[in-house]
């Protein structure tokens, strides 16, 4: 057992028939980190979470979560983790408070403690005023907040969030992340989340890119972007073809004239622009400099953009009857 490791994965593998959902995954998440698992639909993220949460039995390999082996001591793992699934998993007939109490009772929390924890968490996710309404009357964002509260109820060491903001509007998405950040500030908890929203991976301390069941690359968001390295510079000029040719000739940089202007990549985009404008003979109308995005990172490592890779939605937990 390694010190202060919240999630440790060694050679984890899951096959459904001939389909390899997860292939020889190795992973280590330090305690207290927010760890992002990025990949297109069907990359094996949900299957991985399913295995780490003891819902799916691995075909091979081992993993330790919150200090316990997922195969040997699943109950201890379950006590140590909180879980928010991709889809809403609340009982719509019950109120928010009843949903939370159900969870507290399932985990065997003593009543007074549960009452206090429920009140605090409802406050944290700002649902106290609505705590007695049936959950079916809640909006998507409210449900999500309630689910996060439920995931935290038994004070887990690791909180798993499977696509925590899928299906929410951008505003709600921002609000959910605000809640998560507040949570991280208040409780020392490891957060392990999957997403196929690149911008969400930016919230993470470390992240891994998964594609076709395999871990492609792992590192900090900044580090991964550093590997790709180059800023994207887009120019609008009086004559794009001429400008592109000049850039190629004078700076030796690959540049292309396209529908939206001249596109080129260079490590220090902002520093490059003044030199560029001085050298170019054609009039420059506008310049934009974009630092590398995670989409670029994904493209760099997999040869596809994440949107191209987003195939048809795969069943989250293996084949269904």
């Amino acid at each position: 057992m390694s010190g202060r490791t919240a999630v440790l994965v060694e050679g984890l593998r899951k096959t459904y028939g001939t389909h390899e959902a997860v292939v020889d995954l190795d992973l280590s998440v330090a305690a207290g980190q927010t760890y992002g698992f990025l990949g297109p639909n069907g990359a094996g993220k949900s299957t991985t979470i399913g295995m780490l949460c003891t819902l799916i039995r691995p075909s091979a390999g081992r993993a330790e979560v919150a200090g316990h082996d997922i195969a040997r001591d699943p109950d201890a793992v379950r006590r140590g983790i909180g879980l928010v699934f991709q889809e809403s998993t609340l009982d719509g007939e019950l109120t928010a408070e009843e949903n939370l109490r159900f969870q507290a009772d399932l985990f065997g929390m003593p009543r007074p403690l549960a009452r206090r924890a429920i009140a605090e968490l409802l406050d944290l996710v700002e649902l106290t005023p609505r705590k007695d309404s049936p959950v079916r009357t809640y909006s998507g964002g409210m449900r999500r907040r309630l689910e996060i509260a439920r995931g935290l109820l038994h004070t887990p060491r690791v909180l798993f969030l499977d696509e925590p903001t899928t299906g929410l509007d951008p505003q709600t998405r921002v609000a959910i992340w605000e809640h998560l950040h507040r949570l991280r500030a208040e409780q020392e908890i490891t957060v392990f989340l999957t997403t196929h929203h690149l911008e969400e991976a930016e919230h993470c301390d470390r992240m891994a890119i998964m594609d076709r069941g395999q871990l492609v690359v792992e590192g900090t968001p900044a580090g991964l972007k550093g590997v790709v390295g180059a800023d994207l510079v887009v120019l609008r000029t009086g004559d794009d073809e001429e400008a592109a040719r000049s850039v190629r000739e004078r700076f030796g940089i690959e540049a292309e004239a396209g529908a939206d202007g001249v596109r080129l990549r260079t490590p220090d985009g902002a520093g490059f622009v003044p030199r560029l404008c001085a050298e170019l003979t054609v009039p420059v109308h506008a310049v934009t400099v974009t630092p590398p995005t995670l989409d670029d990172v994904f493209l760099h490592y997999t040869g596809r953009t994440i949107r191209e890779a987003d195939g048809p939605q795969q069943p989250a937990f293996g084949p269904r009857r």
């Binding site: 057992m1 390694s2 010190g3 202060r4 490791t5 919240a6 440790l8 305690a31 207290g32 399913g50 949460c53 003891t54 819902l55 799916i56 039995r57 330790e64 919150a66 200090g67 316990h68 001591d73 699943p74 109950d75 201890a76 379950r78 006590r79 140590g80 983790i81 879980l83 699934f85 889809e87 809403s88 998993t89 609340l90 009982d91 719509g92 007939e93 019950l94 009843e98 159900f102 969870q103 009772d105 399932l106 985990f107 065997g108 929390m109 003593p110 403690l113 049936p134 439920r150 038994h154 004070t155 887990p156 060491r157 690791v158 020392e188 908890i189 490891t190 937990f317 293996g318 009857r321």
Partner: protein, 295 residues
């Protein structure tokens, strides 16, 4: 469950600072935990049941139609000598019918829980899956029995007087509705699509009810029908209820014996009740087996 670090400082080096909540690692006996799980699931089902007043009212419509409309209608249509009171004869079947729908509905909740994901949320709790099923079945038994009580209150309409014997009937009603829920749960665990489940249930319930001796005496039927009725477990539930019920339901159809016979032998009520209990246990066992499988 093996708990190595129950007391003392956490021996695991993993995890963020701050121990896991002390109660979470407490010396939680497996049995206490199962019992708690059963209780939690039972309470959930009863809360859900009580909350849906409209469904309760709707559930009463069909049984009442049978008892008041069909019963009264046939009473006046059939000749006096073959029948004394059809409503009295029909009453146990009506009770069964009222119990059946809510019990099956609770079984169906497992299918919906699977679709809504709520099931998965339960499965990741540190509880035994069989305890989840038992709790759900007890919840269904309670909901079913609640309907049963409502119908039993109408007893005097069908010449079933209020007698202490009704308490025995109530026990049977609880058993029968537990069996129904267990069957529903077993079906729900095996059939994963709500649509398929609905079709399967409605396909089964009608024949089961018609072939149960609820509406005509189970004995002395033409060969094929008699065989089907004798094979139907519901037959024994109806008959046990009818024979336990105060009043005169068994004799309400005149001289024809209402009870099923096995090669000239009429199984006693205790055997019939035992059959239902065995069916419930079997269904629960099948359900637990399927349900406990990890993908």
């Amino acid at each position: 469950m093996a708990q190595t670090d129950v007391h003392g400082p956490p021996t695991t080096k993993a995890g963020p600072p701050g121990p896991t909540a002390p109660w979470a690692a407490g010396p939680d006996r497996a049995f206490t935990r199962d019992l708690r799980t059963v209780k939690v699931l039972w309470r959930r089902e009863t809360i859900r049941f009580g909350r849906n007043k409209l469904r309760i009212a709707m559930g009463m419509v069909t049984p009442l139609m049978f008892l008041l409309v069909l019963g009264t209608g046939l009473n006046s249509a059939l000749s006096e000598d073959s029948l004394r009171d059809f409503r009295a004869f029909l009453f146990p079947g009506v009770v069964l019918m009222s119990v059946q729908a809510p019990a099956i509905a609770v079984g169906a909740s497992i299918v919906w829980d699977r679709r809504s994901g709520f099931l998965r949320q339960m499965l990741v709790a540190p509880v035994r899956r069989s305890a989840i099923l038992v709790g759900t079945c007890l919840g269904g038994a309670t909901s079913g029995a609640a309907y049963g009580v409502l119908i039993l209150l109408l007893g005097p309409v069908a010449e079933v007087p209020y007698r202490p014997g009704l308490l025995l009937v109530l026990l049977q009603v609880v058993l029968v509705s537990f069996a129904f829920t267990a069957l529903g749960v077993a079906a729900a665990v095996c059939i994963r699509r709500p649509e398929t489940f609905q079709v399967a249930v409605s396909l089964c319930m009608m024949p089961l009810f018609f072939l149960s001796g609820a509406m005509f005496p189970a004995d002395g039927l033409p060969g094929w029908l008699g065989a089907a009725v004798r094979l139907n477990p519901l037959t024994y539930a109806v008959d046990a209820l009818r024979r336990t019920m105060p009043g005169d339901g068994s004799a309400a159809m005149g001289d024809r014996a209402a009870s099923p016979e096995w090669w000239g032998w009429t199984p006693p009520v205790l055997v019939e009740t035992g059959l239902i209990a065995a069916l419930a246990v079997l269904a629960l066992a099948v359900a637990t087996r399927r349900f406990s499988r990890v993908e």
